[in-house]
Amino acid sequence: MAAISTVTPPTFNLSSPSRNPNSASLSSLKLASPDANPSIPSSRSLKLHRNSRFVTAAATSPSAASPAANPTNTFHGLCYVVGDNIDTDQIIPAEYLTLVPSNPDEYEKLGSYALIGLPSTYESRFVEPGATKTKYTIVIGGDNFGCGSSREHAPVALGAAGVAAVVAESYARIFFRNSVATGEIYPLESEGRLCDECTTGDVVTIELGESKLINHTTGKEYKLKPIGDAGPVIEAGGIFAYARKAGMIPSRDA
């Protein structure tokens, strides 16, 4: 899978007309610090907003196992089960692509349309009409999840709706890459077909550090494939945030 691994990065020029765009120079890439443009929330702050929901859900759910202290390593809540080849048109139909994900209001609206493209054979709606958030924290899928279009709106819609992680048998590459680059959701891989083992509405916990999924409703545990190098990128809030955090790129002081 296309994990964004820690390859020794080149140093970048800040683009300017006077320099040769292709030369590698010693000056590092200068990125705006996250507070430089306060009108656009960083993806990190959006993600934190979602994570606090998970902790609340865990605390109040009566059948919950007590989660680990770090909310970004444990995800707990209801799961929503889908089948194979869930393409991006089902995740976010094309008519909603006029919404621009980097615009905060439109980001929220995208969440309200997450998985609205699923056929009517799916009895439970992923997001209730009129709501912007889903009650399902985890999506469980089969093969080739996220196939079809390259639209980044797909993982963004899921993340905006409140999904913490997708657990699928396999992913289409652009969707996987977009999930990691945006840091919106963890695209986790299962060993085997969890979509056959779980039912929509089951209460599950994912222990990221142990690569484990626990279905509390059925009482079964499942191994997940480790998220590997993609993990820290998603946790940081996407590739840009990760690159700053890891010191690959310095932040420009505000």
Binding site: M1, A2, I4, S5, V7, P9, P10, F12, L14, S15, S16, P17, P21, N22, L29, K30, L31, A32, N37, I40, S42, N85, D87, D89, P93, A94, E95, L97, T98, L99, V100, P101, S102, N103, G117, L118, P119, S120, D143, N144, C147, G148, S149, S150, R151, E152, H153, S170, A172, R173, I174, R177, N178, A181, T182, E189, K225, I239, F240, R252
Partner: protein, 510 residues
């Protein structure tokens, strides 16, 4: 036994036919030696002592010996300034062209400004090509606003290639407007052999027809490229598709790619490159090669490539003056798998609802009653696609039995439809033949209803109907209505189906 270094999670078979493969490597013998060709011969001599095909060791273990690379590996190696790359390696690749459109452009721009600063400049104002094409002829305010966002950015950044549209009521009043991005990129000479082209659209892989590395990326990656001109990419292993034999007159490239996707499934090429070679491929025009590469993503493919040849250079002659250096797979290149097809034995196909790999013979679907036909998109809305449809209508001489929607991909295609004579028609144009057949008037060029779009999009499927379409996807709801049933087909098959009102093999008419 040849082996490839691939990601551990994928399983693969190594095809023994790959051994001693160099003889059938697609080098058109009539073309004068390119510098790349003479390099290949030299390296074959050097490694003959080593006979890499028999080696059990992975390339990384063979030390200083240079392994043969596929086209895709070579393009990425050159673009990352490395002498050698193997599948599975991650490399920072220099990007030659970044393309975006009205759906993903605003989001990419938003990320670029957030991460690089409000006053940041793109890495190269001549390498960013911005093409509004998806939601153009609509009253949807957000859609219209998105084109404005592109314009503001292009003005601010002094972007050289921005194919703008302002007058939505009359596309012809916009001299810069082109239409569908992948067709426009080719027509405007932005696709060049050996280069790296990234776009915020999954069908960016279309450009691989020009012997370059072309793939789709998301907004965040695009934002990164806007600022740096580079992207971290993982080198894909290559699947080779050898298609030999003479193309029957009732078959088009669309049938070939539907055959392949039906063979390997919608995930059969995930994370892989698809290389198309063979005499049948060499006989294809550029537009047909584009159709072939266009649907690579429908098999999960990362990119598609067709080696450049005289057909490619001829096409590019009047379109670009930028120099380029084509790249070809080495004789000793390692392919993950090789598939061979005798094209002369294939028949017209459809992909039935609701998956591009749900392959069936068109003639076996003749009892499927249809409600409409759609001819358009980057896959099936190019000049030759309309010529093909016109050929079938001409042969029949009858009128269509169902609403038949025609959406030329670009302004140029639209003009060709209205001006080019159709062979054997006594000088009539496609548009005249379409009119006589009772088709809808060719619409304003754009992506149209291929992906549904805003509710007022021309030819959007707003009821649960059965449609034969020359487009690329038929997942539930793709063209609008969730219960809509879409049969993907070639322009020949689409036209034939329009004439009967059922899914129809074009051999009924041609």
């Amino acid at each position: 036994m040849a082996s490839s270094a691939v990601a551990p999670t994928s399983s693969f078979l190594v095809d023994k036919k790959i051994l001693g493969f160099s003889a059938s490597c697609a080098q058109p013998s009539s073309f004068p030696c390119s510098p790349q060709l003479s390099k290949k011969r030299a390296s074959t001599k050097i490694v003959s002592v080593m006979t890499p095909q028999q080696s059990e060791r992975k390339p990384s273990a063979t030390g200083a010996v240079k392994t043969g690379m596929t086209m895709t590996e070579k393009i990425l190696a050159r673009a990352s300034e490395k002498s050698q790359l193997v599948p599975g390696e991650n490399a920072w690749v220099n990007v030659d062209i970044l393309m975006t459109h009205d759906v993903c452009g605003p989001g990419s721009i938003g990320i670029f400004k957030k991460e690089f600063g409000e006053n940041a400049k793109v890495w190269d104002r001549e390498k960013v090509v911005i093409i509004p094409d998806h939601y153009i002829f609509t009253t949807d305010e957000r859609a219209n606003r998105n084109v404005d966002i592109l314009r503001d950015f292009c003005n601010e950044q002094n972007i050289k290639y921005f194919y703008d549209i302002k007058d939505l009521g009359n596309f012809k009043a916009n001299p810069d407007y082109k239409g569908v991005c992948h067709v426009a990129l080719a027509q405007e000479g932005h696709c060049r052999p050996g280069e790296v082209l990234l776009g915020t659209d999954s069908h960016t892989c279309t450009a691989g027809a020009f012997g370059q590395f072309a793939t789709g990326i998301g907004n965040t990656d695009a934002g990164f490229v806007l600022g740096t001109g580079k992207l971290l990419l993982k080198v894909p292993p290559t699947l080779r598709f050898v298609m030999d034999g003479e193309m029957p007159n009732y078959l088009l490239a669309k049938d070939l790619i539907l055959q392949i996707i039906g063979e390997i499934s919608v995930a059969g090429a995930t994370y892989k490159a698809m290389e198309f070679v063979g005499s049948a491929v060499e006989s294809l025009t550029m537009e047909e090669r584009m159709t072939l590469c266009n649907m690579v993503v429908e098999a999960g493919g990362k990119n598609g490539v067709i080696p450049a040849d005289r057909t490619t250079y001829k096409f590019l002659e009047d379109k670009t003056s930028l120099p380029f250096e084509p790249v070809f797979s080495d004789g000793g290149a390692r392919f993950l798998k090789e598939y061979r097809f005798d094209i002369s034995k294939l028949e017209p196909l459809v992909a039935k609802p609701h998956s591009p790999d749900n392959r069936a013979l068109a003639r076996e679907c003749k009892d499927v009653k249809i409600d409409r036909v759609y001819i358009g998109s980057c896959t099936g809305g190019k000049t030759e696609d309309f010529m093909a449809a016109a050929k079938v209508f001409l042969a029949s001489g009858k009128k269509v039995k169902v609403p038949t929607f025609l959406v030329p991909a670009t302004q140029k295609v639209w003009m060709d439809v209205y001006s080019l004579p159709v062979p054997g028609s006594g000088g009539r144009t496609c548009s005249q033949i379409f009119e006589e057949a009772g088709c809808d008037t060719p619409a304003s060029p754009s992506c149209g209803a291929c992906l549904g779009g805003p509710r007022d999009t021309y030819a959007r499927m707003n009821e649960a109907q059965v449609c034969v379409s020359t487009t690329n996807r038929n997942f539930p709801g793709r063209m609008g209505h969730k219960e809509g049933q879409i049969y993907l087909a070639s322009p020949y098959t689409a036209a034939a189906s329009a004439l009967t009102g059922f899914v129809t093999d074009p051999r009924e008419f041609i």
